[in-house]
């Protein structure tokens, strides 16, 4: 085991995969500058700068995947999938079914996501629930370096379209580029264990659709993803001082969900809080409630999500995104019901 940053882990896994499989290409806006080390090793035939034209180059990545390449296409920020939605919604997601299972598009769509650095609601969304809503898309959201590398490898090896979302508070180079910009006059609440952590010497895929228990607990289960996992762990520690035993599950893959791990945990505690940085209405938090109900589990339920458009103002942004205090408050309410 060695310790590595979240960003280096993704790059390490990509480098390992690209060295073994010449069909893997990376394309996207500014990628030659963004992926300088990969460019230095694999050259500009495999790291392709695109124009700012997401609908064209994501659409092309999907069909390139259909025709034999294994593209990792970068849509800088997940917010910009708005520009490219047709390629994902009506094409990548439909191919497998429409072809009767005879044709697949092994494309990875990589994008930065998430807020907490004051860029405003057009560049800080999470949107994993929005994308996971579409049958045919796999959506992964790693919360630490080991998963960041392992899930990237799994995404590349998977034979269908995978949306791979890296949170900007975890990827140091993203936070530097769009947050600090060389300044040391700005601060962010970066979860240390998400940004740096132990990774394997040789990358192996982390299985898709497999949640992981980050902390055991008997009284309450918190289910979360991405940066929310770290906020939840912090909340669990605070609640422990009040005498509550709180477990935390990191779902890692938003679609498809690992229903078994989730229902098992919740059936034991009977209390569930979902912490989701994505929008509250019609999303992951409601989906998890439905899964628990469908499994016939009696549960006290609460959720801490993003309700509204994320404000630019740092103060208002802090109140809008899930934070540790909001999680503790909601957990106490659910526990004391």
């Amino acid at each position: 085991m060695e310790v590595m940053s979240f960003a280096d882990a993704i790059e390490g896994a990509l480098a390992q995969a690209m060295a073994h499989d010449p069909r893997i290409v990376i394309l996207g806006e500014d990628v030659q500058g963004q992926r300088l080390n990969l460019l230095a090793r694999f050259g500009e035939k495999r790291i392709l700068n695109t124009p700012i034209s997401e609908s064209a180059f994501v659409g092309a990545a999907v069909s390139a995947a259909m025709a034999g390449l294994r593209p990792v296409v970068e849509v800088m920020m997940v917010d910009f999938t708005g520009v490219t939605m047709d390629a994902l919604l009506n094409h990548a997601a439909k191919l497998d079914t429409f072809s009767g299972g005879k044709w697949k598009a092994p494309v990875v769509v990589r994008a930065a996501c998430g807020g907490g650095y004051g860029d405003g609601g057009q560049h800080e969304q999470s949107l994993w629930g929005w994308l996971a809503h579409i049958p045919g898309l796999t959506v992964v959201v790693p919360s630490n370096p080991a998963d960041a590398g392992g899930l990237m490898l799994a995404a590349i090896e998977y034979d269908g379209p995978v949306i791979y979302l890296e949170h900007k508070l975890l990827s140091d180079y993203w936070l530097e580029a769009v947050g600090a910009g060389g300044r040391d006059t700005v601060q962010y609440d970066v979860p240390a264990e998400g940004e740096h952590g132990p990774v394997p010497k040789v990358w192996k895929p982390v299985p898709l659709a497999q949640a992981v228990i980050r902390r055991d607990g008997d009284d309450l289960t918190i289910i979360s993803v991405g940066v929310g996992v770290h906020r939840s762990l912090e909340a669990a520690q605070i609640l422990e001082k009040d005498g509550f035993s709180v477990g935390v599950i990191d779902i890692r893959t938003v679609a498809p969900l690992d229903k078994k791990t989730l229902t098992n945990a919740v059936s034991k505690t009977g209390h569930l809080v979902v912490v989701d940085e994505d929008y509250e209405a019609f999303g992951l938090s409601g989906e998890l409630a439905a899964i628990i109900l469908e499994a016939g589990i009696q549960v006290k339920y609460g959720r801490v999500c993003t309700r509204d458009t994320i404000p630019y103002s740092r103060d208002l942004e802090d109140k809008t995104l899930p934070n540790t205090q909001r999680i503790v408050n909601t957990a106490l309410k659910v526990l004391n019901e």
């Binding site: 690209m18 060295a19 500014d30 300088l36 230095a40 034209s53 405003g120 300044r183 006059t185 630019y312």
Partner: protein, 338 residues
């Protein structure tokens, strides 16, 4: 409408002085996130905005500060917005990339290319509700490869809408050389949509004003849209703290952070040939240098305009002092009312 270089210079100087104050506020951490400036674009924006009248609309990109200032939006409201205060232009909710003023029919977007369709819709509403008015779309040449921009140009053309598409060409699409990702020639592209097109030097406010006045006439008399191709450069790069510019300004410091992993990548087994690796790397590493060279080769639009006015140095000094006073007062007011 007659050209008044004094008033144009005043607006350009105001915008520059204001954005230099914004740099200071950003550096000390009072402004969060990214900061895209319009420094280098002042002549283009001033030449266009000066000819706008009440009821005209503006669709802005992520560099919306200069057009809004020149459209006489209160600078205190803009500053308070950037500071994230509740009495800012958009109540601290939007920030510099998402500035809106309903009264001025001005809307911005951080999504590259979005100003195209927005201007088309503004123009459509204009011909129904405010005959004789028009809509301006400001965007960079990086936006011209977006489907939505080309679709908007087509729509404006077939509907003969009063739109002026103002393309501010600095030849960099974020940090990628635009010619390397743009097919053909932009003027031909506009002609391909059946649209009138004008190419003009973007540092020269007089040239911008005079050559665009026919676009304003065409729009106002119902003869359809115009594509205005202008050239400019961004001394601060794509945004403040642009890593590629930092690389060229402080090569030793910045490069030493990257050198280890880079070196390992170049010598790792399995990959491209060494010749390909070195070529790819050289191309990217020179981007910051190329931007810096382009900036120094481009005439500063303010310096160019100022030269024409320097014969009346007294009036010029007075104007600059007055503008500086206005902006400094605005900064003071924005920082000290809470």
């Amino acid at each position: 409408m007659k050209i008044d270089l004094w008033s144009l210079y005043r607006q350009m100087f105001r915008s520059r002085f204001f954005e230099e104050a914004v740099i200071q506020l950003w550096e000390v951490g009072l402004i969060s996130g990214e900061m895209h400036l319009g420094i280098g674009e002042e002549a283009i924006v001033a030449g266009i905005v000066d000819q706008m009248i009440a009821g005209d609309a503006m669709a802005l990109d992520h560099r919306g500060t200069p057009p809004l200032l020149m459209r006489e939006i209160n600078p205190v409201l803009l500053l308070k917005e950037f500071l994230g205060l509740q009495d800012g232009l958009c109540s601290g909710m939007g920030g510099h990339m998402h500035l809106f003023s309903k009264d001025h029919l001005a809307a911005s977007s951080g999504i590259v290319g979005a100003s195209g369709p927005t201007a088309v819709g503004f123009a459509l509403a204009g011909i129904h509700l405010r005959p004789g008015t028009l809509a301006v779309a400001f965007f960079g040449e990086g936006a011209i490869n977006q489907g939505m921009m080309m679709e908007a140009m087509n729509l404006a053309s077939v509907w003969k809408l009063p739109v002026i598409f103002v393309c501010k060409n600095n030849e960099w699409a974020i940090s990628t050389s635009s010619p390397s990702v743009t097919g053909g020639n932009l003027m031909d592209r506009a002609f391909g949509f059946g649209m009138a097109a004008i190419e003009v030097e973007g540092s020269d406010v007089q040239a911008i004003w005079e050559s665009s006045s026919e676009a304003f006439e065409r729009a106002r008399d119902g003869s359809g849209p115009t594509f205005l191709l202008t050239r400019c450069s961004h001394p601060e790069g794509h945004y403040l703290g642009d890593p590629l510019l930092r690389m060229s300004r402080q090569p030793v410091k910045e490069f030493s952070k990257r050198a280890g992993p880079l070196f390992r990548s170049v010598i790792s087994r399995k990959g491209a040939t060494i010749r390909d690796r070195m070529k790819s790397l050289g191309d990217v590493m020179s981007v910051g240098k190329e931007i810096a060279e382009q900036v120094s080769a481009t005439e500063d639009p303010l310096a160019l305009t100022r030269r024409g006015l320097v014969t009346d140095i007294e009036r010029l000094n007075m104007l600059e002092e007055e503008v500086a006073g206005e902006i400094l007062d605005a900064v003071e007011l924005a920082l000290n009312t809470d």
